[in-house]
């Protein structure tokens, strides 16, 4: 157990103490205690930057289940450290924000911070472990804590709906990913990601390559809200705003991106990877930005915007894979660098935008964009934050979003030169789609900003009197936007400290050792195609925003019935109803039906064994001769059996059953079983007496007419059972393979058991245990009968004396 392991587990340990703080230190907001941890962790991880900058990595093993190869192995490289810094850094800011956002009187703070810390620890585990099984464990912990956080206000129905939906979708993906990990384990015989990367050639030639890749990508796409799995993210906006800012924009939704980046060395050399990842990303980007425009809720716009931006990052990660196919490394790895850079940028501006949305909600009482307006003068600081955030999101200078958008266009333009699968012409789609997506991004960004802060102030529509937020609430978003602005002016502070190590962990084999990726981000490239694309976005986007009311009708073209949400609802409700219908169909509650299934299964299984497996044979060799007595007894037995079935009165049936029993005793006599005959006679007598005792004295001695109605189904089933039993009897008495062990018993009954009656010696001596437990059975039956007759429970659950019978 090293400090590193402790760093990952510390949020979980810390979470144990939160309830005590929440309960015994009520005067201080619990968040202040929590705040200490992410700050300490952030400082700890910042100090590790020097290791990754030197191109080195840290690996530390803590044995967990060594016999299965599952160990808590921490592996620190550029990529993992970047995510760890995002998680702890934004985590600290979100905790600070939540202190002012959540009231300590009205909300239950203990559970909130326990879930949040649990999430933070899980997320650190996801990005820093090397063992896929441990990664999966932390992965599901993030799903679980996200579920708890979305459902924080569990009394609202929408919260519960959103939490369930996100859990179902992300756990579906998580389980797929587990399958992918297991396939990789089958191929490489190792759970370690390092080991897998070392065995890339083995993986590439294996049949499980494509299934493993698709399963892992399913996990990543569901978590990162890619098309068509993005539907859970807008519904997750029911969570408290700090949660939305932290989980659903900056960290958890990037876990999928982390997995794509982490497994790039394993899969990225295949053209399938390139196409699946980049196409999914670009489609998600356009789709998300297109749908963001029509939303009217601040957080819904931001949710769709997150979907779109994540799609952008994913498409760039896919495009960067082209570097593995061509010698021109620098040319294509720009996409990967841009992906990493935009990851950071998105965390800064989206985090601040969510916090701004939270402030507006907190200070006006609504998030509905149609009721807001004219807040510019009332909330100037929030307006400034939102302005920087939205302009950065739209990709305008002088903010960091502009830089990553330019790089995005560069990488998309370079995709057109890729000719994997020889569909070069399709490559043109990428820059076109990217440009269209960016236009929509511009439109919804402007809508978000101007419809909230400009226009007329409508105090009558707001629940509270709008005013500027308290200073504490503003600290976190101000820090984030300050970062967003400084990243534009000094983009290269991150180039070699963070981005370069991350890119070299994504493509560790691409360069020789001691060589470094050339990461230089500049504000101005000269008059390139990218600049004109941005200019086009501004022109078309502005025109589009100003005429928004005129072409809004385009959204009416898509019927509400065709949305993916509708599909999800139909699917879940349909599955519930379907399984209910199926269950209701066969679980009828009638004993008869269940017996029918059992007998039908017996007939089908045994019958097919007899027919298809050649189990049947017929031979009269070695069988005994049939005498006159047997024929007479057989006739008696068959008629008595028939009488039992066709009896009109209860009494006849009972007597006929007795006749069957006595005939059986006579058969025992003929077949030389004196003890059986004795027992059968006595027991049959007692049984008949019992039957008569129980039912003779009850009223309505006659069967009801309808109980004896002939049912063809029942007849066919019982005929089948009879035939199968007969055939089984004939088949097994016709093919004896081994002699009986009876000779042992007859030979040794006298000298070992000291008795001449072999049956009795077997019962009490050779196989005495049978007899002991048979006695136990009788005892239990007797006690049970006594209990049933003597005790009775009334409606209140108390035992009373049974009523006297007439």
């Amino acid at each position: 157990m090293q400090l590193l392991h402790f760093a990952i587990l510390s949020p979980f340990l810390f979470a144990f103490f939160i309830p005590f703080f929440a309960k015994y230190a009520k005067k201080i907001h619990t968040g202040w205690f929590v705040l200490v941890l992410p700050i300490l962790l952030f400082i700890y991880f910042i100090r590790m930057l020097s290791i990754t900058m030197a191109g080195e990595t840290v690996r530390s093993v803590l044995e967990w289940i060594p016999s299965l190869g599952i160990n808590f192995t921490v592996y620190i490289d550029g990529l993992g450290l970047l995510f760890a810094l995002l998680i702890t850094g934004i985590g600290a800011l979100v905790v600070l924000y939540s202190i002012f956002y959540l009231s300590k009187e009205k909300e239950q703070l203990g559970p909130f911070y326990v879930y949040l810390l649990m999430f933070m620890g899980a997320m650190l585990g996801v990005v820093l472990v090397d063992n896929v099984m441990v990664l999966y464990m932390f992965w599901e912990l993030t799903s679980l804590s996200s579920f708890l956080l979305i459902g924080y206000w569990y009394k609202r129905e929408k919260s519960r709906y959103g939490a369930t939906k996100s859990l179902l979708i992300t756990v579906f993906g998580g389980l797929c990913m587990l399958g992918g990990f297991i396939l990789l384990y089958i191929i490489t015989d190792s759970f370690s990601i390092r080991e897998m990367i070392n065995q890339v050639h083995l993986i590439a030639s294996h049949d499980f390559f494509i299934p493993a890749m698709i399963l892992i990508l399913l996990g990543a796409f569901t978590k990162s809200a890619q098309f068509p799995f993005y539907i859970w993210l807008p519904d997750a906006m029911e969570a408290p705003t700090p949660v939305s800012a932290y989980l659903h924009s900056a960290t958890m939704v990037k876990a999928g991106i982390y997995v794509i980046a982490r497994f790039s060395p394993v899969f990225a050399f295949s053209s399938e990877w390139f196409w699946i990842v980049s196409l999914t990303g670009i489609i998600t980007m356009v789709w998300g930005s297109f749908h963001a425009v029509k939303q009217t809720d601040l957080k819904a716009i931001l949710a769709f915007s997150t979907v779109s931006q994540l799609g952008m990052v994913v498409s760039m990660l896919g495009a960067g894979a082209a570097a593995l196919h061509y010698d021109n490394t620098e040319y294509y790895t720009v996409a990967t660098m841009a992906a990493i850079f935009h990851l950071i940028n998105h965390a800064t501006f989206k985090g601040s935008l969510f916090m701004a949305a939270g402030i507006i909600d907190h200070e006006t009482g609504t998030r509905d964009i149609r009721r807001l307006g004219g807040l510019m003068a009332i909330m100037p600081i929030t307006f400034t934050i939102s302005l920087i955030g939205t302009f950065s999101m739209a990709g305008l200078p002088p903010f960091n979003g502009f830089l990553s958008k330019e790089m995005f266009f560069t990488s998309m333009l370079r995709v057109t030169h890729v000719d994997l699968f020889n569909v070069q012409t399709w490559g043109v789609l990428f820059p076109v789609l990217a440009w269209i997506g960016s236009v929509f991004t511009f439109i919804y960004s402007m809508k978000l900003l101007f419809q909230t802060f400009r226009g007329t102030y409508q105090p009558d529509k707001l629940e509270k009197k709008a005013h500027e937020a308290p200073i504490g609430m503003l600290i976190s978003p101000v820090i984030l936007v300050a970062f967003a602005v400084s990243l534009f002016f000094f983009p290269n502070i991150l180039s070699y400290s963070v981005i370069e190590p991350a890119v070299s962990s994504i493509y560790p084999t691409l360069l020789d050792s001691h060589e470094k990726f050339h990461v230089h981000i500049s504000q101005w490239h000269g008059f390139t195609a990218e600049v004109f694309m941005t200019l086009g976005i501004i022109v078309i986007g502005t025109a589009g925003y100003l005429t928004l009311s005129k072409w809004k009708g385009i959204y009416q073209l898509f019927s509400e019935k065709l949305t993916l949400n509708r599909l999800y609802d139909k699917l879940t409700i349909g599955m519930e109803k379907g399984s209910y219908q199926v269950t209701k169909r066969y679980m009828t509650g009638f004993l008869r039906d269940y017996l029918l299934y059992v007998f039908a299964a017996f007939i089908i299984l045994m019958g097919s064994a007899l027919v298809f497996k050649g189990g049947f044979s017929f031979s009269t060799e070695g069988t005994a001769k049939i005498g006159v007595y047997e024929i007479i007894l057989s006739v008696v037995m068959i008629s008595a059996t028939a009488a039992t079935v066709f009896a009109k009165s209860r009494l006849t049936a009972i007597i006929s059953l007795g006749v069957v029993g006595y005939t059986l005793a006579l058969f025992f006599v003929i077949f030389r079983a004196p003890d059986l005959a004795l027992t059968q006679l006595v027991i049959e007598t007692i049984s008949v007496a019992l039957f008569l005792l129980c039912f003779y004295h009850l009223p309505k001695l006659r069967w009801k007419k309808k109980t004896r109605t002939f049912r063809l189904n029942n007849f066919i089933i019982s005929l089948g059972v009879g035939i199968i039993v007969t055939l089984l009897g004939i088949a097994s008495s016709s093919q004896r393979t081994k002699d009986s062990i009876a000779s042992f018993f007859t030979k040794h009954s006298h000298d070992l058991g000291g008795g001449d009656n072999v049956v009795n010696v077997i019962l009490v001596d050779f196989r005495g245990f049978d007899t002991m437990f048979e006695i136990t059975v009788l005892t239990i039956a007797a006690l049970g009968i006594y209990g049933m007759i003597k005790t009775k429970v009334n409606e209140e659950g108390k035992s009373v004396e049974p009523r006297e019978d007439k």
């Binding site: 057989s634 027991i683 109980t707 009897g729 018993f745």
Partner: protein
């Protein structure tokens, strides 16, 4: 002989199955009793029939019938008697409480769905 006995056992099984599938609780119980008769007969038949004297050594016969199936059947008879009497009394109590012998009316209600 074994083949004849197999056929008889089959007929008993058929009758028992038909009774088990009926509506009246008493008929179901009669069906189980009949079923155990069939099973006992089948057990004895599978051990081989009439291949010597009864398994009592003082008979001094050359061959004895197989004693093991007889011991097994003896155990089975006693157990099935215990079970039959138990369910018989249970049916009796059910009749006392529910005033019906009809399996369809004893079906659980749909409250728990």
């Amino acid at each position: 002989m074994e083949i004849l006995m197999s056929v008889i056992a089959g007929i008993i099984f058929m009758a028992a199955t038909y009774l088990l599938l009926s509506k009246s609780l008493l008929r179901v119980i009669i069906g189980t009793a009949l079923l155990s008769h069939g099973v006992h007969l089948l057990l004895l038949t599978m051990g081989g029939l009439k291949k010597g004297a009864p398994p009592v050594l003082s008979e001094h016969a050359k061959a004895f019938v197989d004693p093991l199936p007889q011991a097994l059947i003896l155990t089975a008879i006693v157990i099935s008697f215990g079970v039959t009497s138990f369910i018989l009394v249970m049916a009796f109590r059910a009749y006392q409480e529910l005033h019906t012998d009809d399996m369809d009316q004893m079906r659980g209600n749909d409250q728990h769905e």
